[in-house]
Symmetry: C2
Subunit: 755 residues, 2 copies
């Protein structure tokens, strides 16, 4: 644990100190968002210290020209990146001419509180400015869960030791850059600015992608609770709109400033001038009643928590962590728009380009599927369906044909935008997770509509890919998959990664079953699909051959499935023997050394044991867990959760608990000293899985949901809810008592601890 | 063969047509140089068409900031690149105000001739300018083999159809760029310009590396063979010096202009103002007697050809090709300076950064060793010795210690400057070739001095690297080398590349022998080395263990050494089954497809069979050649020569001949449609090897040199010379007669065709 300056509280994240070296990581940790837009916890007022400014709009990206050493055939031309959007939160303040800047003067008191229950972020500080004037500032900020384009700030300023003159200058600023730009391209072009008494709006357009966005604001001033309306000093520059107000305030009195603002982006379906739409929002909230806005916000979050909340008694650290994870997952993806998805860093940083990875299907889907309306997880599935054409194109670029699809490793719009050959071209197991998500959706929701209407096309295209990607080894007399990177990215270009071979084969089996089901029960759909995909039942011949003869590396002596061919040639030195100074190995070892070592970045064979647990006995699971865990360095945020779940299943609860803390408090405690870059959003879904499937032991078989009480020692009780097949199921587990409560009817049978 | 517009001639390269699309490739093909500087065959006068301007100075490089997708630990910060140097050849010409530009007007006649025997490049053309004036131009150019810093141009201009006024403007220009700059950095800074009546000099300095170079020129004008001295119109800009002369010439009369020029670079050993040195050169040639300069040039080349020439009767194409190869090798490396080396493209292009690769040791050394004074090949060995410290640092960056060295894959100054992990970190077999070159030098020259004085330190450091890089596989109960790229770069991160394992083991054996020899016969050296390297005889224990238990992949059924583990899992489809449209595969297939395919870029197992031929029977060689050749695509210029030699050895002379043409005429016939980027200099050494070791069948064992007459059908006879142990040996092979002639004494025994 590298960070322990945050207080433990069941519902709040609290920082009580001002440490300049922690500003950037706190900017990540106190990020707020609503799935449509997101804002790092940058200060409203100026700050001359080290900061990472970040405001993001879902789905607004830029195809940055690929940066690469030696170009290889098939590399994507560009890397789509989420863009740092114009700043709408800015409020510049001068006190008797002295700029308010927390990097200067003496900070007497500083506090941040993120109230997760209410969805409100507060900041309070008292500072003696360089000119000796002492002021107390209290800021409340939210991004509306109710209205996509609305954010609000209440900025209160009290003169502590003397009368003074305040110059307050709210602004919107489009002169922003990305930290991770490859070629210093400019990303935004300012198109127009509009300014009325109440409203300021700035239209900017992204270069190349032509997303048009209106960044807007409207303001209201109070002095000692009374509205005041001083004459503004307007100012417009090429990329910035601001207006300043000069107000004299008396010692002990408070100036209150309210600002609403945010982004309206052009909607291709309803082409409307975004500036007009922004003006409508402002007119709707013409009164700018901040208390009312907060009330709505609290109500919206209440509805979320009614289903999503997990209660843990006896361990506030665990309690705080899981609520933080659930809170961030809800801030990142609302599920309203099938064109949006969940980026590994959500709206809290630029790394990973704000793009979609396999994280969505492998980790995130269950959370949204079981805590939201069914339409939300269906939208996640549709996201891939809408990108199927591009996945087919992508496969064609790599030499596949006849409708085979390879979904991209990283994407914003369906096109591949990653450019390391060992990942882009070889980490093909992602195609398997996309199918697994459909299977997962089907078994929990029993909703076959998605598959028969859309998903079956994805299944056929993916299975065609696998059928072409397997090759026949005369030497082994089996079908093999050569040259891949598995989930463990600390191996590149290996042959017969067990996980990849296994899930590839499984995709063929699952697709075949679905085709047969549609042929039998939905013949109209079947005819349409056959026509659209040119599918021919002869394709089953090769699929069956492969299913029958898939090579899966196995060591007869150890009775272990091997991560890949040649795995046992490595020096089998356990992680516990590594020096501390060598960890994390990805920051201390050269890449070749990592590759030839035995160390596993994240669950690989064990990921397969997690996905397909019904196919392996508890004995087999134990054997494999005990073999692979000692070699696993968990240098991916996605790793500890899967190990935690499996450790719970085999009764290693203490180990599971340790791994749970590692995954759920990864950012709060800054395990990897990288929270400053943004939060690990997708791995937060892993924390949720750890509780539900690990300590709660949830599994589904047919119409029966199984739970097992596997609570860590410290936990007195655990309660959570599952939204399944239209009904809400509450599970309560404690030392002496386990029960469940249904809200609404359900055909699902519940068995807890075998009863 | 993609190019057949060049005429076949035993001593000359002749181009008789002006084809704008071929200008860039001819600029490469007609390049001239002297191992110190080099010049692409750019036109002296202006040319507005497609051109690739290139002037290079040996050893003058720039560390261009590395361009890479995702940074990996251990990557070099920069990529050292040879710089495009200031232009000294420029002569701008206007005829009655109209710019002479071969891209405009009507070219009535155009010819280039590169006279390899004399080392002189000539160009002649007749053009009707846009203004209707017809002129005939004849240009002669050379770069002196005798004086490092001297080049000369004679530019003759005849007015064909009318009197006219010529404005002739010789210039030197430092406003040049590299085509392959990563970040558009500027490479040169102009420091000063100097201009006297006779002399113009421009000092520029490379950024970062601070190489100081004086580019200079001096001129002389003749009208109808009489010196004239018109008043020059001087002109200086920030980066260019020029002077113009206006001369009226009559129809049928000739204006002749002579320009000498080139580069003087600051010599760290003799710190002298380079501008003063350049002035001295000009003063020495104050008369600028072009005929005299040409005479010296012809004499210098005569001396080279006396030893280097290879005579082939009956096949002018083969004859022309080998002379072209020998000519270019001599233009690239003179062997005078152990800080210089042989870049894959020599001084004919920017690709490969003008840096040193393993090509030098694996391909080039024998040519220089056996056609030059012994000091030349010794300098090539010293080059690595002088960079040993940096090779040890390089290994340390990758986690090795105790004096282990990994020489860089690509280097200019001893630092690694390549940045693809699969090459930089994993193509470690280069360490083996460096040792092999020492062995090769030793067995031919019998000169042990280099090894005992310097080389032994390299041997110990390299062997330490191998001893650490081998790891023990309990599964195989053998020492293995995991995660490498072999000579065949169409495989990455493979385990147990046979060639790498074999040469690594051999290095340990060879080093041990040399240490023992020094210990026994040169005890003083031994003591010094032990002290300097901290070597301890206990190190032999692990070396012996590895030597005894090296794993070498082998298939018992096919009785074939396997290129690497898992090779037989591939689909063994021969190259002949590939569609033409798919070749070359590196331009048509994505990288993953290439990697999992069976196709071999260049000799890999067979490279080992070539190096260590005495360790394998002819039967084994045949078996392996016949197994691997059908899978080899020869998409490296270094591949066909090795296959040609081996094919000769097993009596497949027709195939060897085909491969010989491919390697020796690679650029002349532009097989890979890339001559425009520069010539494949290092592979030209492979052509020489093909003749000497292939068709001449040369081998050495102890004190005996063996030759075998393996002439291709077409060849009536083959004669070549070998400079061995201070004596010159002439070998003459023909259908009916083989003989040898010694010039000087020699202890070497000669056996031709077993006699």
């Amino acid at each position: 644990m590298k960070n322990n300056h945050l207080l433990i509280d069941p519902w709040k994240i609290i920082e009580n100190t001002f440490d300049k070296s922690k500003v950037k990581s706190s900017e990540s940790l106190f990020s707020i968002g609503n799935g449509y837009m997101g804002q790092r916890a940058n200060f409203e007022e100026d700050y001359s210290g080290n900061t990472f400014q970040g405001s993001y709009i879902g789905g607004v990206y830029y195809p940055d020209k690929t940066k690469v050493g030696w170009w290889k055939n098939g590399y994507p031309e560009s890397f789509a990146k989420v863009l740092n959007a114009p700043n709408w939160i800015g409020i510049s303040i001068k006190v008797n001419g002295e700029l308010l800047d927390l990097n200067k003067g003496i900070v007497k008191h500083f506090q941040r509180v993120l109230d997760m229950q209410k969805g409100i972020y507060k900041r309070k500080f008292q500072i003696i400015l360089v000119n000796g004037i002492e002021i107390l500032v209290e800021v409340t900020r939210f991004i509306s869960l109710n209205e996509n384009s609305l954010g609000g700030i209440e900025y209160k300023l009290l003169a502590v030791n003397t009368d003074c003159q305040i110059l307050i200058e709210p602004y919107i600023d489009a002169g922003i850059v990305n930290q991770d730009s490859n070629w210093d391209d400019s990303f935004w072009k300012i198109k127009s600015l509009k300014k009325t008494k109440l409203f300021s709006g700035l239209i900017s357009e992204t270069n190349k992608t032509k997303f048009e966005v209106c960044t807007y604001m409207a303001n209201k001033l109070f002095y000692e609770k009374k509205v005041i309306d001083p004459l503004p000093i307007k100012s417009k520059s090429k990329s910035k709109i601001s207006q300043s107000f000069k107000i004299d305030i008396q010692k002990g009195k408070t100036l209150k400033f309210i600002k609403i603002g945010g982004y309206v982006k052009t909607n291709v379906n309803f082409p409307k001038n975004p500036i007009e739409e922004a003006k409508e929002i402002v007119e709707k909230h013409i009164e700018i009643d901040f208390e009312k806005l907060l009330k709505t916000q609290i109500e919206s979050w209440k509805k979320i928590w009614e289903v999503s909340d997990i209660k843990i008694e006896g361990d506030p650290k665990s309690q705080q962590a899981i609520r933080y994870n659930i809170f961030q997952l809800n801030q990142t993806y609302s599920g309203k728009d099938p064109k949006l998805n969940i980026s590994p860093k959500g709206f809290t940083g630029e790394k990973y380009g704000g793009s979609t990875y396999w994280d969505t299907e492998a980790y995130c889907l269950p959370f949204y599927m079981l805590t939201k309306d069914q339409s939300v997880s269906k939208n996640l599935l549709k996201y891939r369906y809408f990108q199927l054409d591009k996945a087919i194109e992508n496969a064609e670029k790599l030499g596949f044909d006849k409708g085979a699809a390879l979904f991209p490793m990283v994407t914003m719009n369906g096109e591949e935008c990653h450019n390391e050959w060992e990942i882009t071209f070889e980490e093909i197991h992602r195609n398997g997770a996309i199918v697994y998500a459909m299977y997962n959706y089907l078994r929990y929701t029993k909703d076959f509509d998605y598959i028969k209407e859309m998903g079956i096309e994805v299944l056929i295209a993916v299975s065609r890919f696998w059928a072409q990607r397997f090759s026949f080894s005369r030497d082994k007399n089996k079908y093999v998959i050569l040259g891949v990177t598995g989930p463990n990215e600390y191996e590149n270009n290996v042959n017969n990664n067990w996980y990849t071979n296994y899930i590839a084969r499984w995709c063929l089996i699952f697709t075949k079953e679905q085709i047969k089901k549609i042929q039998k029960f939905h013949f109209k759909d079947f005819s349409r699909i056959i026509k659209k995909t040119n599918w021919n039942s002869n394709e089953f011949n090769l699929w069956d051959e492969i299913i029958k003869n898939t090579y899966l590396p196995y060591d007869n002596e150890k009775k272990i499935f091997l991560q890949q061919d040649g795995f046992l040639d490595k020096e089998l030195i356990q992680v516990s023997h590594l020096k501390k100074s060598e960890r994390p190995i990805n920051q201390n070892w050269s890449w070749d050394r990592i590759l030839r070592s035995v160390y596993i970045k994240q669950a690989d064979v064990l990921q397969g044991f997690y996905f397909f647990s019904e196919n392996f006995s508890l004995e087999e699971l134990k054997k494999h867990y005990k073999f692979y865990e000692p070699f696993t360095v968990h240098e991916s945020s996605l790793s500890p959760s899967i190990h935690a779940i499996l450790a719970s299943r085999i009764g290693m609860i203490d180990e599971a608990y340790k791994l749970y803390l590692q995954t759920s408090r990864l950012d709060l405690d800054d395990y990897n000293i990288e929270s400053d870059e943004g939060l690990h959003i997708t791995s937060m879904a892993g924390s949720w899985l750890t509780i539900i499937e690990g300590f709660g032991g949830m599994k589904i078989t047919g119409d029966t949901l199984y739970f097992e009480n596997k609570l860590p020692k410290k936990w007195k009780s655990l309660s959570f809810k599952i939204n399944i097949q239209g009904s809400l199921l509450e599970i309560n587990l404690s030392k002496n008592h386990n029960n469940f409560i249904w809200k609404g009817d359900s055909k699902v049978k519940i068995i807890i601890n075998g009863k």
